[in-house]
């Protein structure tokens, strides 16, 4: 940082006061922005220099308290940690400031986050063990065991992944990436005694990890590199490792890949659906689409199913490298 540069930026600012406004609106504000500034500096300047009624949450101003998450041009950002220059480089000189979730907006950038905290509490986000209130020694935890948390303890509950998750956006029951990361954080802790309880919660249909659409939005948006989808994958793995997988469409769908690969090397798409759903439900749910696909040559008949070369090799590897059973 040897010189400080300045640019003129046009901000379209989402404004809404649930007490007085029927609908939200956008106010256009033009400002000189310096290369030193982060998004929170802009929010502060709007409030302090332009309109005192502009409202947003903020506290620590250096990326550790998680209060100030908003969206800029649809990108979830922690306002105090997002450099203006990076956003300008990405989106140009016209930027739209919006709350994390417009449908939950209460006042300007402030949303009702009740659903977030409820989901958080749902996964029992605390170490479950009998606590020695006057210990004379600590638990011994090796650095390697500590590293198993995979930085999940770094989550600051900012809600960026939660409100960027398309599964959650379309399914209110889904627990969501932040809470799953918390579930993983305690399940991965060698001191915790409630792994199976939490697996019951994250393994349940509709709310659990199986509804993840694998879009990687949570990893992308996380300002602390918690990588929630990595933890979601680990929770999937734990379900099998601990032998608590329920025999249902979701688990069979995952296991079905192993079966198919063993048989063909490649995935037998039709068989995967049949194995996951069961023959009759498959026909009922997918029969119509399946027939349309068949008509345009999109369905491979079992006798024409392609196979990988050197299939023996694949079979040998599946035998030697499998780590779980279903």
């Amino acid at each position: 940082m040897t010189t400080i540069t300045t640019q003129t930026i046009t901000f379209n600012v989402f404004r809404f006061n649930s007490e007085t406004d029927y609908l939200p609106y956008y106010k256009t504000i033009e400002m000189e922005v310096t290369s030193e500034e982060v998004v929170l500096d802009i929010l502060n300047r709007i409030k302090w220099d332009v309109d005192g009624s502009f409202s947003y949450r903020r506290s620590c101003r250096h990326g550790i308290c998680g209060a100030c998450a908003i969206k800029v041009n649809g990108k979830g950002v922690l306002a105090c940690k997002e450099r203006m220059n990076d956003l300008i480089e990405l989106f140009g000189t016209e930027l739209t400031l919006e709350p994390l979730s417009i449908k939950r907006a209460v006042k300007d950038m402030i949303i009702d986050k009740e659903d977030f905290w409820k989901k958080h509490e749902q996964v029992k986000p605390y170490l479950i063990d009998e606590i020695d209130e006057h210990p004379e020694s600590e638990n011994l935890v090796t650095p390697k065991e500590e590293a198993q948390l995979l930085e999940a303890d770094y989550c600051i509950q900012c809600g960026l992944c939660h409100y960027s998750c398309p599964s959650l956006e379309n399914n209110d029951s889904y627990i969501g990436p932040a809470a799953f990361a918390a579930a993983y954080r305690f399940n991965a802790d060698v001191r915790d005694k409630a792994t199976l309880d939490r697996l019951d919660i994250v393994n349940a249909p509709d709310q659990g990890v199986w509804d993840c659409v694998k879009c990687y939005e949570c990893q992308e948006v996380c300002p602390k590199e918690v990588n929630p989808i990595e933890k979601i994958t680990k929770l999937h793995n734990q379900v099998f490792e601990h032998g608590v997988a329920i025999n249902n469409v979701a688990t069979r769908h995952a296991v079905g890949f192993a079966h198919s690969i063993k048989k063909h090397g490649l995935l037998d798409e039709a068989e995967l659906v049949r194995y996951s759903e069961g023959t009759l439900p498959m026909l009922m749910k997918h029969g119509k689409v399946g027939f349309k696909m068949f008509k345009v040559g999109k369905v491979v008949m079992p006798w024409n199913m392609p196979k990988s070369d050197k299939l023996d090799e694949v079979k040998a590897l599946i035998k030697s490298s499998s780590t779980v059973k279903f």
Binding site: E19, G52, S55, H62, L127
Partner: protein, 570 residues
Amino acid sequence: MSIPIYTYDAVIVGSGLAGSAAARELKLAGKNVAVITKLHPLRSHSGAAQGGINAALSDVDSIELHEFDTVKGADYLADQDAVELMCQKAPETIRWAERMGAAFSRTDDGKIAQRPFGGQSSPRACFAKDRTGLTLLQTIYEQALRVGVDFIDEWYAADIIYEDGKVSGIVAFNIRNQEKAIFNAKAVMFATGGYARAFKISSNAHANTGDGLSIVARHGLPLEDMEFVQFHPSGLSGSGILISEAARGEGGKLLNSEGERFMERYAPNKLELASRDVVARAIINEIREGRGVGPRKDAVYIDLTHLGKEKIMERLPELRDLAITFLGLDMIKEPILISATAHYSMGGIPVDIDGHVRKNNDELVEGFYAAGECACVSVHGANRLGANSVLEALLFGRHVGQSMVADIEKLYLREAEQSDADTMIEEMERILTSNGKETVPGLRNELQQSMTDNAGVFRTEETLSKQVEIVKELRKRFANIRIDDKSKIFNTDLQEAIELGHMLDYSLFIVESALARKESRGAHYREDFTTRDDEGFMKHTMAYMDAEGNISLDYMAVTPGKFEPQERTY
């Protein structure tokens, strides 16, 4: 319209380490307790603590050494009974936090790892990478949640109910919609955090407006040692955002514009690891003498490049990230720009060793407690040692919680009345309807800038007298403000105005107390009285504000102990 009155055994204001730890103790003892916070508990500033939490855990260390370092660091203004309690209970407290789930960094054999920090005889700071406060805050909140503590978030506690030497509750409003309520209780605890937000260059959160202090002071109760504000040596240039002492603990070198490792001149033995006040003054002195660096020449370098990528990523990843975000500088590749930043409040609400708030030198307030940064117990005296603040908050938070449990049986519930809310309602009405010309951001900026200029690292009779007048003038002008937002929903405009009122009030305590202390001790450095004067000032300042806003000063003896005052060198 009548205001609902909710009744509890205990009400705690503030949900950081101290508040949450106390609440958990009360809940475990079967008491009906509520924690009120103007944020969400996990936004509390305890979570921002980076470098560590002290305890004499290792074989090469001892509790007595921890006590000695703390008392010496405090420049002998600490109360030694409180220091003794803290240092003795530190190992148990850290192990207790570990048992509750804190994710400490570990040694190869699985024990809690420790690192060196400034002013310490031994590597004593237990840590979780460079996010120690975060893991502690999350842990204590999680375990408080687990036992069913009632957290009432985004409520603003605006007043205490204080009468006849007894506190019997608080008055608050819901920030979401301005719903007002009285929380009537046998015992009230303040854990409202520090007041360094009064300064322009500050490491503190926006929320650290020190409201708790002036809420207390407005009832004629004293504030102790308010002149002692710690300026941390390493705030990022421009913003003042903290770069933990861990950066120096891990081996960071301070360099001026001539490339000189200037601490060799100021603290030849301890160098960068001298106590914070010493290093902060050295930095400001280098800048004042023209050896500053950076685009504004208002910083010095801290060079960590010799640590190498691996160590920085393992021990200081958060700090690296901060320097990249706020300076665009990567500490793996280049030195970064730092300068002193207002960081920690040694002074605060005076309490005895068990957290009872003092009414004066001799009497205690009934049913009123304080712990954490808002309180002055005093373990930090004139200068706090690094990694002692999270310790104090967690340890005294818990200790005071236990003391409340013990007291509650003896305390009676004085029933609250509607009129108890009058002061808060008047304050809100006054601000909402005031139609003057002054703005909150304008006045706040003048306050913060002038406090940094006149009551900062270096102080003189002249600057402090000037600042007394400035603060008085700003208090007058505050009566003439106007806010834009008149609505009820998340009216943060109103909240900022109330907070500014508090900042103006306690700032007067800071400067009046500093003006009267004609010596240099710890963080309080007078260029016109450069030495410590044990004869005249080995005592705590007790400051009171009258109804007209005039400050009167009294002094209270320091509790002595096994360590006799000596000259402090590093």
